[in-house]
Symmetry: C2
Subunit: 455 residues, 2 copies
């Protein structure tokens, strides 16, 4: 959908001219997420009018894809009958997500109007904690018996296909216990009279309802699944997670990590639709916190005021030392944070990680110090006739070496410690590392200066 702007205008135009037949046709050739985005740009009245022109099944899909606030404006003007139709058409997991986001009075209206079956499924799904595998699963899957033949299985699937979120992966159960998995592709490849129990894969990878949803979705990345079964404590199949929902979760978690790494409280609202005050609220606590920590760096400088006054040239290297330390530390911390996120690095790898960063920090520190020494001697002293003594150059270069070393070690250790203590490692990214490394680099700098320059 390249021309969302045009598409929105066309809808407004057709609505104004009351060309409902053309509008219906336009919608029938458009994917639900695109319709949802376009409706978001209309006025409340236009939105409700346009929405009512959608075919029933598309309407439910569009409803799911809308921004929560757009959805609420629709629910406000809907009759109980319309709400019931939508609720019954939605897949149980989508309905549960929507109910979770809505204000309490709207939820009451939604639940009151859902059919008894829908309400039961919903309550079932709503009991799982946020961020658990149970909270993202759907209860509408295909389950087969192990003594079915391929032909029987396919006929059964044809009966239930309409009510199942995916028919591509089928689960073989007995008294609701998960016995095996068989894909529709395998069923199609079987002889008509072959028995499902003989073909199914018994080594099923499944997650428990209480598992972290991030762990569950990581399995999709690793194994290329289309669906993943979710079982309860007795290994009874209670639902499945489908790949499209897994992708949504992965994207959401990735965006959360990006936000945390930039010291922002994550939000799932699109940036351009978020009011400035909300953006301010998601950023200011971190800025204040980091500003307070940075004042400690100021205190260190104040403590060495006399040294700085005696050798003002020392001040000019402060930004370079602080920035390089911060950058070195972020490189290590972001690498380790991503490694943890992807399951490549765990706390028990701490010593391997520290050893690796130790080597890298020596290599980086020496390279940077050498480059700086050459630069000071050639550019500053020879070219610019700057009065920097070789001893000051030595202090700067040694500080650089030691700062990079500390920065890399702090950067690789803190995320692993955070993980071990149950915090999100992503918070230990650039801003925090920078603040800590700033203080460390100044302490090292003034320490070196005091010792070598005798200040």
């Amino acid at each position: 959908m390249e021309d969302m702007g045009e598409f929105k205008e066309k809808i407004s135009e057709l609505l104004k001219r009351k060309c409902f037949v053309e509008l219906r046709e336009l919608f029938s050739g458009t994917e639900p997420p695109d319709i949802a985005e376009a409706l978001g740009g209309l006025s409340r009245e236009e939105r409700a009018l346009a929405y009512r022109l959608l075919p029933k099944e598309t309407a439910a899909d569009v409803f799911v894809e809308m921004e929560p606030e757009d959805r609420e404006t629709l629910v406000d003007v809907f009759s109980d009958r319309e709400i019931k139709d939508i609720m019954d058409e939605l897949y149980a997991d989508d309905a549960a997500d929507i109910v979770e986001e809505m204000p309490a009075n709207v939820v009451q209206r939604l639940l009151k109007n859902a059919s008894a079956d829908t309400r039961k499924e919903l309550n079932e799904l709503l009991k799982y904690p946020e961020n658990s595998a149970g909270s993202i699963m759907t209860t509408e899957y295909v389950s087969l018996k192990r003594d079915m033949t391929a032909d029987e299985a396919i006929r059964y699937i044809r009966e239930v296909a309409l009510d199942s979120e995916t028919v591509y992966t089928c689960y073989v159960t007995q008294n609701r216990r998960l016995l095996g998995v068989v894909s529709i592709r395998e069923l199609l490849l079987m002889q008509d009279d072959a028995v499902v129990g003989d073909v199914m894969n018994e080594h099923v990878i499944a997650v428990s309802t209480g598992d972290d949803r991030e762990e569950a979705t990581a399995l999709f990345n690793r194994y290329g699944f289309i669906a993943l079964p979710v079982v309860d404590a007795e290994h009874r199949l209670v639902g499945i997670i489908t790949v499209d929902d897994a992708m949504d979760v992965i994207q959401e978690e990735t965006e959360e990590d990006f936000a945390k790494m930039a010291a922002i409280t994550p939000s799932d609202r699109p940036y351009l639709r978020t009011p400035a005050v909300k953006i301010w609220a998601s950023r200011i606590p971190w800025l204040l916190l980091l500003m307070v920590s940075a004042t400690f760096t100021g205190i260190i400088i104040t403590g060495f005021e006399n040294a700085l006054a005696a050798q003002v040239v020392l001040t000019s290297f402060i930004p370079m030392l602080m920035d390089t330390g911060g950058n070195s530390g972020s490189q290590a911390s972001v690498t380790v944070i991503r490694g943890i996120s992807l399951g490549e690095i765990e706390f028990r790898d701490l010593f391997r990680v520290v050893w690796k960063e130790f080597q890298v920090s020596i290599l980086c520190g020496v390279t940077l110090a050498a480059a700086t020494f050459v630069k000071i001697m050639l550019v500053d002293r020879l070219l610019m006739h700057s009065p920097i003594s070789p001893l000051v150059a030595l202090v700067v270069c040694l500080t650089l070496c030691l700062t990079v070393f500390c920065a890399k070690l702090i950067g690789c250790t803190l995320p692993l410690l955070a993980k071990k203590l149950g915090f999100d490692p992503a918070v230990m990214a650039s801003p925090f590392i920078t603040t800590i490394v700033d203080a460390v680099s100044l302490l090292v700098y003034f320490g070196m200066a005091t010792a070598l320059l005798g200040l």
Copy 2:
């Protein structure tokens, strides 16, 4: 696979005791990515031995999942016959990926031993540029004719299922031109004698072979597809991208973004398996570049040496001003970079973005300045009896306000400009913004100090 360590030991153990039947059984209950990881931890000899025990189809899947260097050690010891078997068993897109990664002499051996058909498919796929949609597609898809009945279509699918990477989405073509799409679920829901052409969805979303692979995979996130058709300039169907490959690409691109934002050259090797020298090589160019830029900040300080010598207390606020500026700028830049990546923000939104960040920067700047003023007056002056004059406090707070303002505007503008100029916006993240904002904040600081304090 929680206990990868145990699994590896068990394989080594069974190999040493020559218990090949048990080993085969162990493998049959394990997913290919887990086997591939375990084989990576074995010696060359053990790896080749264990690999030869794998059933033929699993062997190809494991081969695909291995790290490139492990794969090469296998190819080294394989007979031409073994190589031919693997190449013919692989899906064309996986084979093409593997061929692209291998050194030239190995590629010659691989191609020489592939069957004529495989070689033709491979050459077809290898001609697409890196990072294009064509380079990640597979040519093994199901294509139906529009006059087929549901029953005929299903029978046809059963014939070709073994050679198709996915049978879940089928494409309707005429003279290779893409006419429509129909899912196997829809086919199963049709009456036996209903005609495919009547049921298919004619509004197919497709990408061109030359499109950016990132754009192609973004469509999976937006629409929840299982597969996406790839067409040539004449709208002829040439291949499909499957959801598992799309997820791999998304993950790879995400990791690249994380790396670039932390000023690291991206690499797709797992951290713990990368030698320290390679890690150093991916980090040091950026550290050097940023260090050189940071020396400009040093030059600014040198230019105001006299002012600093006259009012040494000014120095103690430098870290706080620089850090807060850097953090404010990163918040804006990371938000905009992610917005661009997700397709939420485009260059034409520049003014909306600038207006939003303008509002946010005023809110943040005033809050931070107020907090700092209160802190200086109450904590520093009253509590610590520090000799900071109210005028100096004013200089600091005004600088803070202006720095946050500049940082947010620079942070939100640079990624959009980079995108417009054809660079990767991710490079315009924290490290670069910090370096630029440092210089800006110091210029503002000394400008204010000179004007208000008359230095």
